[in-house]
Each structure stands twice: as structure tokens, then as C-alpha cells.
Symmetry: C2
Subunit: 416 residues, 2 copies
């Protein structure tokens, strides 16, 4: 009953004789061709997107200085020697007109300086008295004037690979007047769901994995472009896998285990290549990887039990989505250091994803990784990944907790 070509065996009714390590999984993922092609979007729509490595540097902004703050436009040289004890008088000119020697003109933050001006004096540094301005503070050339150079240099930071643009990053692209910018296209993900197992004649249980995965894929910058459910039969699943359409990635959900009806790994073999089935991960140990269809589209097998589906997405499939989208492959969860409140038991030989609650800076284990449902992950603030070579951690051990962010984020303590 071995699969042809030395691939993973048929594990139905027998169990996994061996499982791939997460290191093997990572190597397989690192060999998938990526990222997705480049497309152009407006800077205003670029939040959450990843810039293509080389962004064209914009042309120099139009000549002319702009005020960085409200105040008086002046020639800095005219203020040399001014002090509270010896104020220097300047003549107040009409805004907009060229500024002659010893002149000052009102200017608003963001507005162009009048010709001849090279600095902006804040209101607190001068007092207007009957058409004259008594300057009590000297300013240097460029003081209070917008400096466009830092903005352009900051662009280099954005081109750093793997960083989704934050609100201020996208706004900078707009400020620089770049026009459409090249970003990595969002990975298109196709969901093929076997559907929950129902008693004969009973109503089907709700599709839990579909909404779970749609939200997770969106978090990682991908989009679910197609979702098909009820693919419980080997033939139907293989046919869907063989025609992936324009998907960059297929997630097959359910029918991955050791039961007689766990046909998903066989269907991947039918439609392409099953590279890995069975991963040393708990929960999520029946996950797998392969390719399907004429274009050898990457496929991830995810268990149907929602808790296992979540863990296998986080540790395996999510890395594929991020890699295809040009993001860093590493877990995207904010990591915080915490002390274990009590012993955390894990299995040797498998990587355990252990849910924990954070309270007063301590991490308390809050559920069995083997629980089939979502309750542990819902109760948890985050999770601890226990490496395969450890049997767990003792109470008081320092661990890294990966936060199930959304908000709110626990505060590590006020600054001194």
C-alpha cells in the first residue's frame, strides 16, 4: 500500500509511521516559487501591501521652500544678534510678495515661503508692534522650513523586503507624489473543504473552517478567491485539485487523518504530488504539503477539526501565504516574554502549540493541545511553541508567548 515514488504512505486505519519535522516543512515551503507577480496600486490604497523591492525614487519636488510651522518668514541673516534684551526690528511685508532685506511676512505651516526667505520665526520669538516686528531670538537658515530630503530617504526603509506598509508608510507614498506603486499581488487562495462529517440523514454541521481560514488568510495578506465545500469523495477532490484555476495556493481542509474516509492525501497524489503527509506537530499532525494541477500549484492539507486546522494553518499554511505575498515567513504574532505560572507539559518528538492565558505578566497554560475544538484557542491570549526535543517547561521558566493579536495587547509594565 506504499504510495508510488517513495512518497508518504497511505495511513488510513494504520496511523502515521513517521512524520515530517517542521524543519522539513520549512525547507519545502522555502523552495516554492515566490513571490506572486507585481501589480501597481495607488499609494492611498497601499496600506497592508508589500512593496516590490525596487521602488522608483520620485523626481525632486518642485523648487521652493515651504514653512514647517506657523510664524514669520524671514532671512535668517537678519536675525543674527537678536535677543530678549536687544530685539532687532524687521519690517512686516505683505504675504506672498518677495521678501526684501530686513523684512518679515506671515506664513502658515505648509505654505510656500516668499522669495528670499530661508527660515520661519515662531510667533513666540517676535512681537509685532505697529507695522514692525521686534525679533527676540535668532534663527538659523532652514529653521522652521520643510526638509523634503528625510521623506525621500525614508522611502528606502519601505523598500525593505517583507514589510507590509503601515498607515504612515502608505501616506508617505502619497506625500511623495509617487503615483501608482509596484506591490506584490495578494496571493489568491482556493479553499477545498471536505465538509464536516454528518450522521446519515442529519443536517450538516456548520462550516467552521471556512470562516476561520478566510480571516487568517486575510490577516496574512492573501485573499480567498474560491471556496468549495462538500468535497468528501476522492474523485471529486482530485478533480478540483487538478483544475486550480488562477489560484496561487490551495488549502484542502478535512479528510487528512487515519480514518477510512480520509481521502484528501490520496486525492493530492491523484492530481499531482503528495510531498509530505503527517507533521510532528500537535495539534495538526495530519497536515501535509504537495502540488497539484498542470502548474504544480502548492497545496496544503489541513485537518478538519477546527483546533487542529488553526494550529496547522498558523505553523504551516500561513507561512506559504506570507511567502507568496512577499512577507516575512516567520510567525506574524507579536511575541512577548513571560514566566510560566505552572508546568507546561508537552510531548517529546513533536512541536506542541500550547494555549496560554497571560495574567500579571505570567503565562498560564489554559488547554490541552489535543482538545479537538476551538475552546482552548478562544480562551487563550496566545500560544507557546514547545520544540520537539523538549518535554515541556517547568513552572517559572521564561517562555516566548505569541499573541493571538487582535487587540488589546497586554502591557509589559509602565515606563519608569
Amino acid at each position: 500500500m506504499s504510495a508510488p515514488g517513495g512518497g508518504p504512505e497511505d495511513v488510513r486505519l494504520r496511523g502515521f509511521s513517521e512524520r515530517a519535522s517542521l524543519e522539513e516543512v520549512a525547507r519545502w515551503i522555502a523552495a516554492v516559487p515566490a513571490p506572486c507577480p507585481i501589480e501597481a496600486v495607488a499609494g492611498a490604497d497601499a496600506c497592508g501591501r508589500v512593496l516590490a523591492p525596487r521602488v522608483p525614487i520620485p523626481p525632486a519636488p518642485p523648487a521652493g521652500l515651504r514653512a514647517a510651522e506657523d510664524g514669520w518668514a524671514v532671512r535668517a541673516a537678519d536675525t543674527v544678534g537678536a535677543s530678549g534684551y536687544g530685539p532687532l526690528p524687521l519690517a512686516v511685508r505683505a504675504p506672498g510678495a518677495p521678501l526684501g532685506p530686513a523684512g518679515a511676512a506671515l506664513v502658515a505651516a505648509g505654505a510656500p515661503l516668499p522669495e528670499g526667505a530661508d527660515a520661519v520665526l515662531p510667533f513666540a520669538a517676535a512681537e509685532a508692534v505697529a507695522g514692525s516686528l521686534e525679533v527676540s531670538t535668532a534663527v538659523a537658515p532652514g529653521s522652521g522650513v520643510e526638509q523634503p530630503e528625510p521623506e525621500r530617504r525614508a522611502l528606502d526603509v519601505l523598500a525593505r523586503a517583507g514589510r507590509p506598509l503601515r498607515p504612515q508608510d502608505a501616506a508617505l507614498l502619497v506625500a511623495l507624489g509617487l503615483g501608482p506603486v509596484p506591490v506584490v499581488r495578494r496571493p489568491r487562495v482556493r479553499l477545498l473543504l471536505a465538509g464536516a462529517k454528518a450522521a446519515p440523514g442529519a443536517a450538516s454541521p456548520p462550516d467552521v473552517d471556512g470562516p476561520l481560514l478566510r480571516a487568517l488568510v486575510a490577516r496574512d495578506g492573501g485573499e480567498v478567491v474560491a471556496e468549495t465545500t462538500g468535497l468528501a469523495e476522492r474523485g471529486a477532490l482530485a478533480a478540483a485539485l487538478a483544475a486550480p484555476g488562477d489560484a496561487d495556493l490551495i488549502l484542502v481542509v478535512g479528510r487528512t487523518g487515519t480514518g477510512p474516509d480520509d481521502v484528501a492525501p490520496l486525492a493530492v497524489g491523484d492530481a499531482g504530488t503528495l510531498a509530505i503527509h503527517g507533521v510532528a506537530l500537535r495539534p495538526g499532525g495530519s497536515a501535509g504539503l504537495g502540488t497539484a494541477g498542470p502548474g504544480a500549484v502548492p497545496v496544503a492539507l489541513l485537518p478538519g477539526a477546527p483546533g487542529a486546522c488553526l494550529a496547522a494553518y498558523e505553523l504551516i499554511a500561513g507561512a506559504l501565504v506570507r511567502r507568496l505575498g512577499g512577507r516575512a515567513v516567520a510567525l506574524p504574532h507579536p511575541a512577548v516574554a513571560a514566566e510560566l505560572g505552572r508546568k507546561l507539559v508537552s510531548a517529546i518528538g513533536v512541536v506542541d502549540v500550547c494555549p496560554v492565558v497571560l495574567a500579571d505578566g505570567r503565562a498560564e497554560p489554559c488547554g490541552d493541545p489535543d482538545a479537538p475544538g476551538l475552546a482552548p484557542a478562544v480562551r487563550a491570549d496566545g500560544f507557546v511553541v514547545v520544540p520537539a526535543e523538549l518535554e515541556g517547561h517547568g513552572p517559572g521558566a521564561q517562555v516566548t508567548v505569541r499573541l493571538h493579536a487582535l487587540l488589546p495587547f497586554p502591557d509589559p509594565g509602565a515606563p519608569p
Copy 2:
């Protein structure tokens, strides 16, 4: 030139004589009626939303146990005494039929147990030999069987106020078959933008604050429902403020400073009440708060300079969005502890928002809070909030860095 009713003064050409503390700002925000009304959404669409405090607990699930793992459905009592040295034989029955005494039937994870079965034996714990099953491990009743109770108890965690639902949370609502769930409506935010200041006859600079604020409002769970730009005149701005439509919050952007054309605070007074103008915050010190229109809709004034707009949104307006949306008001940025790589200078008497880069666990200040543009925030990994009573921190000081992490919860959208 004092505003009537003891409100903030007209600061144009004079500067702020006093500024409100962030504590005063927080007290004002805490008095705004909130949250927004409740609406019902499907569990599958609830990711990123905040549950109303009381969620109806669902009815008990349909009677009948389900397998939590693949294996053999058995009566646990029939396995008592089984061991590797003394396996007990059970008769293999057809799946689906009631399980008689000393019987076993194949069952898949998620499928209903046959009548009479109360446990699932993993494949590794038995060996099928010619119609008989040799059981080598005893199991307890309920072993390998789904436990619906934890899922329902986890629902209580979700009803905790102020927590946006994460992917697994929304999936749990689906799993419990709750139907539409009550959530806080997304706060509707109206943007009124004065527009950038252009030289006479020159093309208008691009609208940077609009995209910046749309992304930030979305991060905080709100939605920008209307955006009007070019509101540089007091009359036009006051008219827009007096007719807020269905907005829950208005953000007035630009024209908040001390220049002659900084009419935004006056327009708020014209259309309602200006409660605060000038905040002891850097950058963002010209921010303000008030109400407008017949319904006294809350209004936040934000500076037009993008760097200052960002800081004032983060420290002031964002709290309003989160409060209206039923979220925790505190800063949503993940917080990490770090050691300062070098001295961080700040001004006494104002709260400084200081951009920092994180490298090797150390925080390095990377920009002047007074820089008008976005470059410091773009270069930064996060920011340190220095309290008003401090002049900064010395090198080596432990500080809390708030990460500018993009933890987007883009709307995953409806299933395709």
C-alpha cells in the same frame, strides 16, 4: 478675543497660553456617550467586531456524541482490563448500526458515535484480526469523544467587553450555531479636511492626511463614511460641522494652529462647542476636542502636518474611535520593553511621542518629534511616550516601546 463661555481662546498669531493635559483629554473622551448601537452580524462575518456584552447562550447541541478522533467506537466498560499482554477481543460491527455489547465500529473524527458507544479507541490501541478487534489499551468513558461544554464556556470569554473577535473567536460562534450575533456597530467617521496649503496658482499638494486617517480608523474598528476636502474657510467648515449626517465622530484636519488662516477651532465654536484647543502633546499640540451639530456629535481637531496628525490621532482621536466602537480605549499597539541605546531628549510639560528603531532589543531614537513630516514615523519600528513630567530618559533606561505593528484585520469579505 476670548471665546464666549470661558472656552479656549483664539490663539491665532498669539500662540497657546495654556494647553490641556492628556489626562484632561482622557476625561473628556470618557464622558462621550458610547458605544455605538448594537447590530446583528453572522458569526462568519464577526472577525474584528466587538460582541455586545450579553450574547445569548445557544441551546444545547443536538443529543448524541461525536468522535473527537479517528478510531474504533466502543463501550469503555468493554475495554476494562485490556493490556498488551492480555488483549481483549471485540466484535467488529458495521458503522452506523447500534453497538451491541463487546462490539466496536470504525468511526471518523467529527462523526456521530453509534448508539451505545461512549468512547473512541485510537487505531494504535487495537488491532483488527479477521472480524475481531484485539484491544490492548483500556479507555475511560468520554475518551476520544467531543466535549461540547468547553466550547460553550469559552463563549463567556468572548463576551468580555472591549475585545475584538479574532479568527478563532468568530469561528467558535459559527461552530456553536448561534446565528446572527449582536455586535457594536462600527463607528462612522466623517473626515473634514482643510486641504494642504498651496502657493497661489500652484497645483494643490496631494491629500496625505485622508489616506493616513482612513487606514488608522479602520485599524481601530471604525469606518470613514464621508470625506470632504478643501474646507479651508471658516464658514464652509462650520456649515459642514453643523450638518454631521449620520456620523458618530467628525475629524477636522488642518487649520488648527496659530496662523492667521487657522480657522478650524473657530468653526467648531460656530457649529457647537469647542471644549479643548491645544494639548500638551508633541507633535500634535494644536489638537482639540468639541461637539457640533444638533446631536452634539463629538469632534476631534487634528493638525494638518502629517506627522503631527498621526501623533494626535494615536493619542487622542483613536481613543474616541475605539470607545465608540466598544473597544478598550488604551493604545492598541503591542508594547515591548526595551533598553534605550542612547539618550532620549524630551520637553518638560508636554507628552512627547518619540519615534524609535528597535535593534537587538535596544531602542534607538530615530527622529525629532518636531519634524513636520512622516519620515520619523516611517523609519521607526515604534514610539516611546515620554510623560509630561520627564525631560527624557538616559541611555540604558528601560522604556516601553509601542510597536507600529501592522496587525491589520482587513475584512475577509463574504465567501466567494
